[in-house]
Symmetry: D2
Subunit: 416 residues, 4 copies
């Protein structure tokens, strides 16, 4: 077996981490047990570009136990946990090409190394692997693939529209069970966790400004209120703004909010949600954090250009003293605060996302040759199955419709 | 002018009611003022089948001031407010054919009477008018129409699918601003208001079972929690059930919930969400109410068949004493508790819905001849305009994207 | 038996009402059953001045079944439910002297009538009976009494301080289980219920101003938030104001709040919490309600003096049009909105309060001759017993300390 | 100047930390500025035994600027931040005798060292200094002191009762502004923060069991709900249990709760709130944390005795595998999870507590000779002043009573 990792002797530590993750991934573990028995992926060659974390480790192990041969590279040069990489190599025969702190050349070389296995199914997080296969005409043996994130889905849809996509891809990102956990409940909690680890401030009594009321913003606003904050929502869509009002939040524009906020968290998906003009209005001691994907939402350069001095007062907490003495605190350089200052998503969140991955892989393989080269949503029955596995793992029994009720609901649908 | 109403002398009282409603319908009033100035419906003949309430009165007045000639009948034999009917006739020259307590023959005769005006635009709530026009081939002069409710939309979609729909219809029901207010926030509050008026119970400390976690169920669950209830959600969809769990609600099936609930509210859209088997499990004193559209969700006949005696202990509160002495309380005969025991939706809710109606009517007329005979959603710009009018009426200024931000969000969409 | 009521033929209707109340008063019913078996008040003569409602009826029945002979008059000329009065006379041999709509002379004559029975224990709500007995030297045979309200307790404490109190009185008002239900959870819900019945407005999205953050204000603020309102608290005590801030509420003075509120509810216990100056700032459509004991919190005369016209637009909703056309809505003449526009406290609330009454009466009788002429709090073991009865009636089993834990907690108290 | 610390070269780093703390302690800073100008403690000798943290540093600096000479030792051998100790020595002339990791002998030697200064006012956290002074008859020059914690107050009250207390002590612990922040809002947030840092679990959807519904338990229960948890309260007092029910929480005993909880947090102040019997019921994966003062609430020894193996899976997270394979996770050895796995209270919390300290010290000095040797509550005017300072620092203007209102509220109090 081929692999390139940092240190194989970290394998035992990695195995411990995998076991801790498994406890909080009951849905995926249930799937793992079924797949181990059935071996539906026997001999199938899979190449994956994913963050090499403990949760990804559980997914890789699952696919391995389902019978697949797996090669794995990292979807980010910095996100690999080297002990997990080692455990996957040593205990689960996964060909890993990844380590923390890869150079850009290493990063692409590692992705290339995956192709030596002539993969039949490809898993990606961001679209780099899909793009590489298409640009180099290496998709000949590929039955299909999956894509984990919004960014990758957007790229693949553009490929589909331009008629260049060559195999079917399931957009795991679009599953309800991915979406619900990842954006609303996952980031909702972890963004605030990141803020607390960086600052140790008390949320109760603080005026908290949330920019953006999409799913992430909703999650954050709800959690800040749950911790006793007074929450102001800034949003450009009148529909979302109105929904925020009806939920009891104050809604205003950032110009007004910038004058009264103690803590600002951005989740707009857009640039300069907090601009120099806004910063100029802020109170002494204001804290700025970003929970959006890219570090463009706070004008970091603008802030620093306004400062007469700058220093790190705590890890991830940068003080910028303005000309008039006001101090503005920037967390984690304006990068995703839950990942930079915290630990990212809890395992429970990845449990759902990766359960969709595992079942989608099996679905693609079973339906090889039958799917068109398009971007597909996760089939609804998979999404529902994942939800059900999670509910079962919690010991929750949901309502079961009677025959009569099923019949009635069909009638209803057709207006009879 | 032609009309048939109960008592024209009620007109002044009706005018008072209209004025009270107008205060809580600021979005529609803003539209009214614009339309009155522009007169875009000058001479257009409109026939409407709607609940003849004070809020409908404000809508009729609005269309009248926009220049239209209007005939109005009731969409339900029992829902007409006779003073509003009188005010519309006397002060706003609307041809009303409606009174509270119509016979079934009256009801249909009144709808027929609308056709004497040879309507060009038709407004409906439930689909009876649309169906009548099609069944009798009377759609010749009709440019298009609107439909207020889910039930009507379902019927129209069936007509569209069968290729028999003859003019375009805008499904006002599907507007976000209709949906958000009407189902989640409107029914959420008014269903509980109905329960309190019927029973005067204390919600705090009660175990409340909500059957169905669609928008109505979500609204009710959230409000019951907001009043101090312990809330259990019963739901058959694993996706919705999981969402309820993540919101912190207990989730179980009705068999288990039926044993511990103090108050049950159904909002499933299905039959027998509460069956005889469930009732047999219930505690002495359990209270049953329905917030779904039809009175099929609680097995009312089943309950009564189980009772050794039955009596009304308060208005809308029926005691059924079971063989073993347990007493089960049924509210409002299992009909929509917010309408039957309360006053239905607040004016604020109808403000949004009817703003969509008014703008959709203008949209249909302006685009006459250009729309296909299909069921259309409310155009997004109308939905957003309504939200914005509502926000403005509250003095709320939402965020305005900069040119740079608009540009960035476009790039994003195409993956560049 | 002696009595003076409106109409004895209402007795059966009153009996139905009593039975409905009993379902929601499980703690008192449990006490009733115990007392009926033990008859600890056999032959004891009780005189009571209370609101003659269905809940009071259940209390009277309870004391009767415990063996007492009871005379009952009304604590307010308007609050008597005549059917309850009839049922108490006909079915439970209570000597009732009360009807709805008593003149002031009737009111005092009825109280005097109670003395014919030469009462040994006296129950009061407001202190008029206690005052009458003392002023007229009629306390000779009285072992002691109870007092239900704050107002009465204040009067009795003044009597105690001045050394004129002649018998022991238990201040039921001060029991935790009275307090918790009555002020926080009872008024919290019922005040909003009163506002909704008067106006049918939607709370979600409204800016709601709560004046006073005592227990009543807390309850109201919490419930308004639970219904989706944006809540502003106005409070003069820095300690309470800070607590409100920490709970996530906005806090400001009434001058600022008066400019932005849609709905104002007062619960300060003080005069002119809303003054003419505040009213002059208000938005068109503002709604004013009072949840405090007396109708002095809103300057009703001031408001009316500012109005160029005034009318009732709905029951309990008075429109005052100011000189510049703004319309300010006053609910229920500024009187307690939960009683005036709603039905007052749910039976569940009175269950706890009256359980304290019943057990306090027995306590006084058992300890006759041993208590000093002072105002006593409800003994803690009674308060706890009432809570426990309520919990048991809900099927709730609380934690039971082990011997070891009891021992440990004692040690702790003495610092060892 | 005399001192004994770890490393004076850490002084600059400590100064940075002090400045970060000062931003979140606006009330104390306002007091600091006033005292610096007035110098009310000029030449007064103060000895303090406190946790040597950055917040204590700000308090010491404040007293120094008020004119005092200060000696400081640690109230816990492990809690000293050495950089703060250095900064206090170097920049503020405080005689510090403290370092992280003192032996027990060092700890007492350091306390003794304080006496060389012949203190006039003594500040304590836990009562060791007060006890030492009394046991050794060294209280001759002491005007009075303060005490920060419950434990110390209990000891002092025992001394007062036994007639041995020799000087007045103000129980800062009992101030509302200490209490409110420290227990309810401080521990409420920080305990959950500690759990998240130790485990990175998702709270949403978890069944969380809170043992004890005192102020700490209330805070935790409220925050867990605010993060989407389903919260069960276990409480032995029927009054507190009933309040929890009325707040919408499920209430049961630990025997039942132990079978369904995912996360358990104890805050009872008693031993074995979680016993071996409870642990035997628990689900695989259950997590146990303590937020009470002492590490007696979870039976740690019992748990470990039941385990067939034990290991640390993450910092502060100990896995105990039971005989049947279930894994129970103990956080931070059952010690206060907010301090052990998190950073303890945010500075905002200590701001209020230490503002009471500073003003109480001045109060004692100003009233020297006039106070009796008793345990005093913080004077109400100080408590209110601290709240007001905090509110002012937030830019909040509370309601100001008019003369008329002040007059009315006085009348009310005397029943006129």
């Amino acid at each position: 077996m081929n692999y390139r990792i940092k240190d194989i002797s970290l394998a035992d530590q990695g195995k411990n981490q995998l076991e801790w993750a498994e406890i909080h991934m009951p849905a995926l573990i249930k799937i793992q047990k079924d797949l181990e028995r059935e071996k539906p992926l026997k001999g199938v060659r899979i190449a994956a570009v994913l963050h090499v974390t403990k949760e990804t480790g559980v997914l890789m192990k699952t696919l391995k136990l389902a019978g697949a041969d797996i090669s794995l590279a990292a979807s980010n040069p910095l996100s690999t946990q080297d002990d997990i990489a080692a455990a996957l190599v040593k205990y689960y025969d996964v060909s890993v090409f990844a380590w923390k702190g890869e150079s850009e050349k290493d990063y692409y070389d590692n992705i290339k190394s995956l192709l030596e296995s002539e993969p039949q199914i490809v898993m990606d997080d961001g679209g780099d692997l899909h793009a590489f296969l298409h640009e180099n005409g290496l998709y000949g043996k590929v039955f299909g693939g999956t894509e984990e994130t919004t960014t990758g889905v957007v790229r693949l849809k553009a490929m589909e529209e331009q008629g260049v996509l060559k195999y079917p891809v399931i957009a795991v990102n679009n599953a309800f069970t991915k979406y619900l956990f990842d954006n609303r409940f996952g980031t909702g909690q972890s963004a605030i966790d990141g803020v607390l680890r960086a600052t140790n401030i008390l949320i109760a009594g603080k005026t908290c400004v949330v920019a953006g009321y999409g799913w992430v913003g909703r999650g954050i606003a709800s959690r800040l209120r749950g911790l006793g904050g007074r929450v102001i929502v800034v949003e450009a869509s009148p529909l979302r703004a109105l929904e925020a009002v009806m939920e009891g939040f104050e809604v205003m524009n950032m110009r007004d909010a910038s004058k009264i906020g103690d803590l600002f968290i951005t989740a707009t998906g857009n640039i300069r949600a907090i601009s120099k003009e806004h910063i100029a209005n802020m109170k002494d001691g204001a804290i700025l954090a970003n929970a959006g994907h890219f570090n463009v939402e706070i004008d970091v350069e603008g802030l620093r250009s306004m400062a007469k001095s700058r220093r790190i007062v705590r890890p991830y907490t940068e003080e910028n003293e303005l000309q008039d003495g006001r101090r503005i605190y920037l967390l984690a350089d304006g990068r995703l605060v839950n990942l930079a200052a915290g630990e990212g998503h809890p395992s429970e969140v990845m449990d759902l996302s990766f359960s969709n991955q595992a079942l989608s892989i099996v679905h693609i393989y079973k339906n090889r040759g039958k799917l068109e080269p398009k971007v597909y949503d996760v089939p609804n029955h998979i999404d529902e199955q994942v939800a059900l596995l999670k509910l079962n793992s919690m010991g929750i029994e949901i309502e079961k419709l009677t025959e009569e009720q099923i019949e009635y609901s069909k009638q209803w649908k057709y207006g009879t």
